[in-house]
């Protein structure tokens, strides 16, 4: 029985490796799914851009459970994918164990931190991008009250909220910031109904601009704001097109660029820590035809000035995760 199992297992591995050409890159999406219109989708767009430009092919996997993370990484590494890009901090601990077993395979992790010679750690300065959209929120707000809807209450989302609050206060020191988290389980990333309810509750408290950093939940926030004629701010991908004229802007987190660069570098991927900040275009805010009317020249000038100062280091935005505290907001 066991020998049969072994043979079957071996054929399975053979079949897998036969199906992939040598050194195709791979991308692994975190729980939440490829089409979350936000974080994972941005990674998918980067991979697609690489595929259309180079005509290459890549493998992709979507996680469905925690125990699969290690399984997926090992199977991809064993089937010859290189480099392997994964999205989400939840991979950190798993990659720490897997990476040393495959020294010839390059890994790249977005949002996580892994110290290994064959791993590229890609971190984003979300607080800087959030600061900019916070400034825009404060300038667009007529009531002096702005909202923030986060996904799960985790440090990463507090980092978004903290940068946003600092941006708001930089423009209007008296502004009220209402911050809510959607929940404490992973379901909080994909609960547009609750997102909409939170947005409505914030609007009833006077908020007229709401920033959603909540994955798929944000869709509900944007919808609720559009329904009541208020403004919203999207996140990660450019979400301006979802409700033209109602989405003030989107805080861009260029996960697509990170994936695209990693795929382009291929097996020559440089490892180590890469910080995608404002200066390197890793984060930013989106202006397109859908929100051009909402963003005034004055707003744009102020934000661009701040962006320049942040990029040059003249202005520092406090990073919540550096010391687990926020000067502008209490959680």
């Amino acid at each position: 029985m066991t020998s049969i199992q072994k043979i079957l297992g071996a054929t399975a591995v053979l079949a897998l490796s036969a199906g992939t050409a040598l050194a195709d890159p791979a991308v692994v999406f975190d729980l939440g799914g490829k089409f979350d219109k936000s974080f994972n989708e941005s990674a998918f767009n980067g991979a697609e851009r690489w595929a259309t430009e180079t005509g290459g092919s890549y493998r992709e996997l979507e996680m469905q459970s925690e125990a699969q993370r290690e399984q997926a990484l090992r199977r991809l590494a064993e089937s010859g994918s290189n480099p392997i890009v994964m999205t989400g901090f939840a991979f950190s601990s798993v990659l720490e164990e897997v990476a040393p077993d495959y020294p010839d395979t390059k890994f790249a992790i977005v949002d996580g931190f892994v110290d290994a010679p064959n791993v590229r750690t890609i971190l984003f300065s979300e607080h800087e991008g959030s600061y900019l959209v916070g400034m825009m929120a404060a300038m667009a707000s007529e009531t002096g009250t702005v909202g923030f809807v986060g996904g799960m209450d985790i440090p990463l989302i507090r980092k978004f909220a903290c940068g946003y609050a600092q941006g708001v206060q930089a423009v209007n020191g008296d502004a009220t910031i209402i911050a809510n988290m959607t929940g404490t389980t992973p379901a909080a990333w994909n609960d547009p109904v609750k997102g909409g309810e939170l947005a409505k509750s914030q609007m009833s408290q006077g908020a007229d601009v709401i920033y959603a950093a909540a994955g798929g939940t944000g869709i509900g926030v944007l919808q609720a704001a559009a329904d009541e004629g208020k403004l919203s701010i999207g996140v990660d991908s450019n979400q301006n097109y979802l409700h033209p004229g109602s989405v003030l802007t989107s805080m861009l987190k260029r996960v697509d660029n990170a994936v695209y660069e990693a795929f382009t570098a291929g097996t020559e991927l440089e490892t180590g820590i890469v910080t995608m900040d404002l200066a390197s275009g890793g984060v930013g805010y989106a202006v397109d035809e859908n929100n051009a009317e909402l963003v005034t020249a004055e707003m744009q000038a102020a934000v661009d000035a701040a962006a320049e100062q942040i990029a040059s280091g003249a202005l520092t935005v406090h990073d919540y995760t550096s010391d687990d505290s926020c000067p502008a907001l209490t959680f």
């Binding site: 297992g9 897998l16 979507e62 469905q64 925690e66 125990a67 985790i154």
Partner: protein, 374 residues
């Protein structure tokens, strides 16, 4: 109506139900324009075709054994404990605290300690709804499911604000020390000369789960308390008349049930992740309800049903990972299995009974043989 022999009842009928469930799943797969044979092959190959697949199947099955036993013990007392999810989360916290803050000299001590700690946390979490049910009459279905959400929030608070290492983005505890790492199934089977993949999460907890199955069987069918639990489940007024305290039975049953759910954490938290993550339980508490339902609340039935659901979980994951068939199909198959083995059980049973009675009437010597066997 004639009584069916036990083998028809416990073997034949579930198998027919399963075949029906898989046939309909096949129709669904054809409906989405995929190949059902290919899908089945991927599932069987992925879950049972290699020691690697078996490792994952057994890992998931171990989780479901604990939660299935937890639900079935409570069911025996007519208590519907749907809080297995929350109890397993709190069990995870108990296991994590035991592993992080007590310097264990060897994994075997740690296993015992963490098991007790996990069980205690799970039991404690079940004790509050149990008390509310026994003393205040708050319905246990409502309270246990609400306690799932409270457990999620407690865990979130503890992980984000207390156990998370400074500077870490991940809402998870630090890694447990290497001394508490449990031997995995590959190591154990390697000792007796059976080659088994070492890169799977299946670990020694599988044997703890098997022991738990036997212990629950002894408890329910061979002990005084088990008799009281079953009697209470059949008729509360009769147990009161017999001098058994409903408060005591409700409390004890739920403590045992919660403890079993909490023990699941030694598999997923201590055995697999070796740290406490927010999403550790992943719905196993709810799968436990289906497992108990399908296993007829009998420990052996729970064991078989847990294996089946472990197969569905791992096989379904392989579908999602390596084919274009969406992972949601796994949920369709699960739902059909539950529907046929649980809800529509009598439909198959009546059919089988009709055929069996006709068969009995035909050859009298078969009846004689059957009677002699009884």
């Amino acid at each position: 109506m004639d009584r069916l022999p036990p083998w028809v009842d416990v073997v034949l009928i579930p198998i027919i139900s399963l075949i029906l469930a898989f046939l309909i799943s096949g129709l669904v797969i054809i409906g989405i324009k995929e190949d059902p044979v290919e899908a089945m092959r991927t599932m069987v190959q992925g879950a049972l075709g290699s020691s690697y697949g078996w490792g994952y199947t057994l890992y998931y099955a171990t989780n479901f054994m604990f939660t299935g036993l937890a639900v079935s013990v409570a069911f025996r007392a007519s208590l519907f404990n749907i809080g297995g999810e929350g109890q397993a989360m709190m069990g995870g916290l108990g296991v994590a605290l035991a592993c992080l803050f007590i310097p264990w000299p060897h994994w075997s001590f740690a296993l015992v300690g963490a098991t007790l700690s996990g069980a205690a946390f799970g039991a404690l979490w079940a004790a509050i709804p149990a008390y509310l049910q026994a003393k205040k009459g708050s319905h246990i279905v409502i309270t246990t499911i609400m306690f799932n959400f409270i457990a999620a929030s407690v865990l979130n608070y503890v992980l984000v604000n207390q156990l998370r290492p400074q500077g870490s983005m991940d809402p998870a505890s630090g890694r447990f020390p290497d001394t508490v790492a449990l031997p995995n199934l590959g190591d154990i089977l390697g000792l007796v000369g059976i080659p088994f993949s070492r890169s799977t999460p299946a670990n020694i907890t599988l044997f703890v789960a098997l022991i738990a199955c036997v212990a629950v069987w002894l408890l329910i069918f061979r002990s005084r308390l088990g008799y009281q639990i079953r009697a209470f489940g059949k008729s509360e007024p009769a147990t009161v008349y017999a001098g058994i305290s409903p408060v005591k039975i409700t409390m004890l049953t739920m403590l045992i049930s919660g403890g079993l759910a909490g023990m699941m954490a030694i598999n997923n938290v201590m055995g697999e992740a070796e740290r406490l993550v927010l999403n550790a339980v992943e719905g196993a508490g709810f799968i436990g309800i289906a497992v108990a339902l399908m296993g007829r609340n009998h420990p052996f039935g729970v064991f078989i049903a847990a294996l089946l659901f472990g197969f569905l979980y791992q096989g379904g994951a392989e579908l999602g990972l390596w084919t274009s068939i969406p992972i949601e199909l796994r949920i369709v198959v699960q739902a059909l299995v539950i529907l046929f083995t649980g809800a529509l059980d009598n439909m198959v049973r009546m059919g089988v009974e009709a055929i069996y009675t006709r068969f009995r009437k035909a050859p009298p010597e078969v009846i004689k043989a059957a009677e002699a066997a009884e």
